[in-house]
Symmetry: C2
Subunit: 107 residues, 2 copies
């Protein structure tokens, strides 16, 4: 059985946000994103794929489309196909996100 | 922006496990499953779709394929396409799960 204690996988990089792959299947990927203070995933777009961010720990400033909002642990946001989306850790604490995307752009 | 405080959506039913839809897109669904003590999602199979369960609160006894394992808050498990999978709340506390499936069988 492929089961993982998610925050046990956290890894940070001083260079940029760290993506840790949890599952990578024909239909989706599921990653843990780890952002140190000041790090971000720059706004970008995917055509034909939807992404979900769930905040595990910390607070992040999310952009989806033309809106910006600070979300904290326990909150989830959808970045639908075609919508610009990104996230920045504007806080002094680490930010950990569970991220699922489908279909899987790596396949 | 479609953002949700996930556990704020929890709902229970005395009849059976409650599924609360969070996102339902062309590519995936994302639900909150709420299980009272003793409730379960019976083992079943999907061909061509992968499901992820992330434990938000409580403990669940998961079956995937021929394995059974108790997972608790912060743990995630993959039920890949074709694998029998299900979950039971064998505890005296509520069990809340974040569930993502792709592709979306409702579409």
């Amino acid at each position: 059985m492929q089961c993982i204690e998610v925050l046990g996988k956290q890894e940070f990089s001083s260079e940029k946000m760290k993506k840790v792959s949890l599952f990578d299947t024909a239909n989706l990927f599921c990653d843990l994103y780890c952002l140190r203070p000041g790090q971000s995933q720059k706004p970008h777009t995917h055509q034909g794929a939807d992404k979900i961010y769930f905040v595990l720990q910390g607070k992040g400033t999310f952009v989806v489309g033309e809106e910006e909002k600070v979300l904290e642990a326990g909150e989830i946001v959808l970045a639908p196909s075609g919508a610009v989306h990104g996230v920045t850790n504007h806080t002094p604490q680490a930010l950990n996100l569970l991220v699922v995307m489908a279909p899987n752009p790596n396949r």
